[in-house]
Symmetry: D2
Subunit: 384 residues, 4 copies
C-alpha cells in the first residue's frame, strides 16, 4: 500500500527505526539531556530563538490546550475561518472567552488580509486572532504572512495552526509574526502523529500567565510544560518517550536534508500533481490554484461519483490510499497528500494514475495519458 | 544501563520492534480493523466483556479525563488517599464536583475497607469513590477487592487507578467491581507510556452521559472516544498510531506468555528483592510487607544519606537506574521497579547488589552478601 | 528512492523489523528450536518433503558449494547456458569434473528441451545437468519443467538455480524434478541476500556422499550442514542469526499471503510492465515475450544511448533505481525488477514513467502516454 | 534471557536497529559510497592504513579463505596451537601446503615466544606462521605482540586470528606485526556474526598474488574482494547488505565510545568475574590468571558435575545463558562471555550469582556470598 494521505502520513524509515530505540526513564539524565537537545533542535527547525514547547498528545489536543491556556474571560477572539479546522477552533474558544467573532469565507477560498484589517479596525477590543494556515480538509492555504502583518499592527495575539504546512512550506513563527505557532511531527516532518510542537512568544506567555482561567495540573496547561525542556527540571507528567525518539529523527532528517530542499520537493510534487489531475479532466477544489496547498492537493469529486467509491477503487486496484474530505468537506473532495517521504515527484505520477484508473473504473473518462504527460512536463521543467 | 524504575520502564524488544511498524492511515480499513481487534484483545487482557477504551495520551491524562467526564456538579466524591497519586486525584475533582471528601492514611499505609464502609455509611450521598490500587510513589497497594465490595454495597461508582499494578498483579475491573478502571501500557505491560487503557461499565457510561458538565470535542472527553473501537466509525481525533502498534505487541506478549506466569514472575522478583534489601540492612518503606507492591519495592533512605546520591552512585558504578520518590515521598525513599521485562528474579540480584554497592560507597554498611544470599534463598524456594 | 532492481531488492518492512530481533546464541535451545522450525517452514514454501538446507552466505556461494560438493572427478557435466549465470556455473565445474559440456544459446534465447534430449542421447555418460531457471542478467526463463522431464528420463542429477524465480513464479524442486534446487531470500521473497536455500534429494545426497572430492569442514561443504536443521545438533560453523531471522519473516509473509497470490502479482506486474515499455517504443531483450521472466523485465538499450546514462537519469529525475546488465549483457540492456514488495502493478506505472522520462531526457522519443495507457489497460483487464 | 556467551553475543540495540535499515541495491551509488566509508571506518577501528577487507560470511569462512588464498604448494606453515581453533586451522592448511608444522601446548596454556623462536631457527624454510590470539574454546590468550616480534625477525608471513579479542582488548594488526589479521563483528563489537573483517598487508597481498593455487571466482578468494571497497568498483558477488548495515553501527558505537573505554570495561568485567568465580570456590580453566582472556572467563567444571547440567540450571532458574566448551574442551569447562554490551561489571554479578546458584542446585557448595563480595571489591577498587 502506498499512503498518499493528508495525515497520518507514510513515515520515513529512519523515523520508524528511531521509534524502536530503547525507552529511557524520564527522570534519568540520559533522557533529560536528550529532551533538552530535542527542544533546542526543534527550535532550530522552527527558526525560533527559544526552545520549542512539546506537548505529549496530537496537535488537536495541542490546539485545545492553546485555546484553554491563552483565552480567558477577558478575551475577544477573532477566528478566521476558511475551512473545517478554522471553524472547529471556535468550539474551544466559546466556553472561556468574552466573545467569539468569526470571519468566514467559503471553504474553497482564502482569507483576505484586507477583510481582517477591516474587522480589526471595527473591533479594536479584539485581543486574539486565530488562523489555520493550511486548512487540511480543504487543501487550501491562507496568506499567513500578510495577515500576520495586519494582526501585529493591531496588537492582538496571533495564533497560527501550521500543523500541515510547517516543514512542507516555508512558514515559521517569526515569518508570520505568530505568538503561538502550532505544528506536529505527523504531517510534513514525516513522523508519527502523537505530539504537538509549539513556539510561544514572550508576549503569549505573559498573556497566558495573566489568564486567571488557565488550567493547571492538566493536559490542557501550557504553563505546566513551560520549563520541561530544561535538563534540570522534571516533567509535570510522563512524556511520550517513543514519540520523542521519533520526533528527534524526523527533525534530524529535515535539518540534514536542508529545509529549502524539502520545501522544494513538496512544492514540485504538488505542482506536478495539480497539473496532472487538471490535465486529466478533474477540477481542483481550491477556487484558484494560487491558494492550493503545496502539501495537499484537493480535487472536486466529479459529478455523479462518490468520494468513498473513488478511494476504494484506487485502493483495491492500485494499492494507493487517498483521503476523503472531513466534516463539511466530507464526500465533496478527494485529497492527495504530499507530505514527508512521498513529497517526491514520482508520487505525482502514482497519484494521477491511480486516481485516473479509479475514475475510469467508475465511468468517468479520465484522460490519464494527458495527466501523466502533464506531470512529466512539470517534472522536466524543474531544475534537477 | 539497566532500567529498574517504576516507569517509564524498560520495554520488551518485541514491543520496540512493533513501534517501528509502518504508520497506517487512521481512516483506512487496515488501521480501522487493526484498532477494533486491538480494543477487543486488550479487553481480553482486562477480562472485560466490552471493548477496551483507549485514550491517546498517558494515563495521567486518562485519569484527568475520567475525572472531568464522570464527575459533575451533582457528585460527592470520596477520594481514598494512601499516597501521592491518591492525593493528586482530588485536584481533578475539586473544580467540578459538589464536594470532595478525602479519607487519608499515612503514605506508608493502606486504606482500611472498614474505614471506607464507615465513611460511606456516614455519607450516603457519596456518588463516586476513587482509589489508587498501587500508589506508585509509595510502592504500596490497597485492598482493592475488599474496598470494591464495600463500594458496590453502597452503590457509588467506583473508579480504580490500576496503572502500575495491572498486568503485574492479578487485578481486573470485574474482580474489584470497578466502574472505571484505568491502566496503561507503560508499566507492567512493558510498553511505552503514551496511551491510557480503560474499562468503563454501563453504569459509568450512564453516569457520564447524564453529566451535564462533561467535556465534548476535547481530549478530556470519554464520550468522544466511546465508539472509536468500531471499524465502521472514524476517530474523533487522530490516534497515536505508533503507540497503538506498541500496545498491540505488548498485549500479545502478555496473553501469549500467560497472565498467571507474568504475575508470578512479578511477585517472585518483588519477594526476592524485599528479602534481599531487608537482609542487607535496609527497611522497606511500607509499614508492613503485606502492603508492599509486587511491582515496585520502595525502601527508606537510610539516615544520613540522600536519595539522589544513592541513585547517582548506583548509576555511575553499576549502570543501574532506580527511581526516587515523587512529591511528598521525594527524597524519602528509593524505588526499585519490577515491571515488564525486568520482572525476572535475576534482576533482584542486580538491584540488591547495585543498591548495596552504592550504599557502601556512601558509607552505609550494607551487608550485600547477606542480601544476595536472601535473594538466592527466595529464588531457590520457588517452584521453578 | 524506489528500488526496482533484480536484486538486492527492496525488502518488506516486516522482514526489516525481523532483522532487528535479538540475536540468540546458536547453541541455545531457543535458537535451535527456531532454526528447526525455520527449515521446516521453508520446506513448506518449497513444497519439499525434507527440511530445507540453509547455507549461511549468498546464493552464489551456495551454487559454488553445490558444484564442489556434488561434482567430482568422475562426473561429466552438461551445463545449459542461456545467460551469464548459466555460463558462470561452468567455472565451478571445471576444476573438479571429468568433462564439462556446454549447450549454449544466444543470451536472449531459451534452452530447447529437444536439444537437451539430443545431447543426452549422444552422451549417455553425462551424470549431471545444470540449468539456471531465470538467468537474471538476461531476464529470460528456461522451460525447467520440460527440461527436467528430459533429464529425469536420462537419469542424470538435475541441478536447478531458481534463485531469482522461486517465490515469484510457480516453480518448486518437485515440479521440475530437481535433485538440487537453489534459491535465496534476497529476490522474490523480498528479504536480504545473505543466505542460500536448498532442496537436496536423497539421490543427490547419495551422489555427494559418494564423491571423494567433496570438501569437508568448509563453507563449500553441503555435508557439513546436512543435519544442522535438527534441534539436537549443533552447527558446524556459526549461522548468520540475523539473516535467519529475516528469512523467517520472509517465509511467513509468503505463506500467509498465499503463494498463488504472490505469483499472480509478480506475473501481473511483469505483464503490465512489458506492455508499457513496448507501447512506449522500447524493445524487450528477450527474443520472444513467452520467455521473458515474470520477475524481471529486460529491455534493449535504444540505439545511440548508454545504459548507465539511462539508469542515472531515472535515478536523478525520478528517484527510481533500475539494474544494468551484468557481464556479457552489461550495457546492452536495462532491467526492471518485479520482486517482493514491488511486485505490484502500480510499480509498472512507476517503472514505465521513470524509464520513459529518462529516455526522453536523453533524446529518445518515448511515448510515455501510450506506455502508461498500456499498463493501465493490462491492470484493468485483470480480475481484481 | 541474558546471553553471557562467547558468541554469538548479545547485540547492541543500536546495531539491531541498523540491521533494519532499508536494503540498498549494491550497484547503486548510495550503497557503493556507504561501503567505501564502511571499509575506511573499519580500518580506523583496526588502526590500519589501508581500507579493511570485508568478506561476506562468518569469520570461520574468512579464515578458510585466508588459508586457501595465502597458502600454496610452496609454503611451509608453522601453526601455533594452544586450543581448538588453533588446532582447527591446520585442516585448512594441509590440503594445499608443502608442510604443516604444529607447535602445540596444552589447551589451558599459552604459546611461549621463545619456543616459536626456537622452531623458526630450526626451520628457516617456514614461510607462514599462524596464531589464534584468543582461543575462544579455552578462554586463553597468547602473547601475540611478542610472538609477532619473533616472526617478523624471521621473515615469515604472520596470520593472526583475533576474532574474539579485537575490540575487547588492545590488539591491532600493526601492534603485533600481523600480515593478515582476521576478526568479525559478532564478538566484542557486539554485532551479528555474518561477516569477516580483515587487514591484509602489502606483503601478504604479494604473497597471495604469487600463489598459483589461490582460488578465484570463489567465496574463498581474497583477491576477488580486494578492490571491492572502492565506490567505483562493483562487487564480485552480492554483499550481505543487512550485515554491512549492522557492522556500520557497531563500528560507530566502538569509535564513539572510545576504544580505550571499551577495552577497560571488558577488562574490568573479566577481572571482577574471575575474582568472583574463584572466591566462590571454582577454578579457572587457564593454567595462570595472566593468560585468561578479558573477553571470556572459562572455568573448570567441578568434579562430579556435567557442563550441560550447569548451563541448563543457570538458564532455567536465572535466565542466564553460558557457553559450554567446544571440541576438545566440550564438557570440561563453562565459558562466561564478556563481549560487547554485556562487558559491564554488573554482568559479573549476574554471572557469578547465576553460576553459583546453578552449582548449588546441583550439589556443589558454591560460596556465592564470597563470590559477590569479591566482584564488588573488584568493582569498588576500579577508578570509576
Amino acid at each position: 500500500m502506498i499512503t498518499l494521505t493528508s495525515g497520518p502520513v507514510s513515515v520515513y524509515p529512519r523515523v520508524l527505526r528511531a521509534l524502536s530505540r530503547p525507552v529511557h526513564y524520564d527522570h534519568d539524565i540520559t533522557f533529560l539531556t536528550f529532551y533538552e537537545e530535542l527542544c533546542l533542535k526543534t527550535a532550530r527547525a522552527l527558526k525560533w530563538p527559544e526552545p520549542a514547547l512539546i506537548l505529549h498528545a496530537e496537535p488537536a489536543v495541542g490546539l485545545e490546550a492553546v485555546a484553554r491556556s491563552a483565552i480567558g474571560g477577558a478575551d475577544v477572539v477573532l477566528s478566521l475561518v476558511s475551512g473545517v479546522y478554522g471553524k472547529g477552533f471556535g468550539q474551544w474558544c466559546v466556553p472561556g472567552c468574552k466573545e467569539l467573532i468569526e470571519l468566514e469565507v467559503p471553504f474553497n477560498e482564502a482569507i483576505d488580509p484586507l477583510a481582517v484589517a477591516a474587522q480589526l479596525e471595527q473591533r479594536p477590543d479584539i485581543t486574539i486572532v486565530n488562523l489555520v494556515h493550511h486548512d487540511t480538509p480543504s487543501g487550501t492555504v491562507n496568506p499567513v504572512v500578510e495577515i500576520g502583518r495586519v494582526v501585529r499592527r493591531h496588537g492582538a495575539l496571533f495564533l497560527v495552526d501550521a500543523v500541515s504546512s510547517f516543514a512542507g512550506m516555508d512558514v515559521h513563527p517569526d515569518d508570520c509574526g505568530a505568538d503561538i505557532f502550532v505544528t506536529g511531527p505527523g504531517k510534513c516532518l514525516g513522523g508519527p502523529p502523537g505530539l504537538t510542537i509549539l513556539a510561544v512568544s514572550q508576549r503569549a506567555w505573559a498573556h497566558i500567565e495573566a489568564n486567571p482561567d488557565r488550567p493547571r495540573a492538566s493536559v490542557l496547561s501550557l504553563t505546566d510544560w513551560k520549563d520541561a525542556w530544561r535538563r534540570d527540571q522534571t516533567f509535570p507528567f510522563t512524556p511520550s518517550v517513543a514519540e520523542a525518539n521519533g520526533l528527534d529523527a524526523a527533525v534530524d532528517l529535515y535539518l540534514e536534508e536542508g529545509p529549502e530542499r524539502v520545501w522544494h520537493r513538496h512544492a514540485m510534487t504538488a505542482a506536478a500533481c495539480r497539473a496532472g489531475v487538471t490535465a486529466m479532466g478533474c477540477s481542483l477544489w481550491a477556487a484558484r490554484e494560487e491558494i492550493a496547498a503545496d502539501t495537499t492537493t484537493a480535487l472536486q469529486v466529479p459529478d455523479g461519483l462518490r468520494a468513498e467509491e473513488i478511494i476504494a477503487a484506487a485502493r483495491a486496484r492500485f494499492g494507493v490510499i487517498f483521503s476523503n474530505g472531513r466534516g463539511a468537506t466530507l464526500g465533496k473532495l478527494i485529497r492527495i497528500g504530499h507530505m514527508g517521504p512521498v513529497a517526491e515527484p514520482i508520487y505525482a505520477v502514482v497519484a494521477v494514475t491511480a486516481l485516473g484508473g479509479a475514475l475510469r473504473e467508475l465511468g468517468f473518462k479520465a484522460d490519464v495519458a494527458a495527466g501523466v504527460e502533464a506531470v512529466l512536463a512539470r517534472i522536466a521543467a524543474s531544475p534537477e
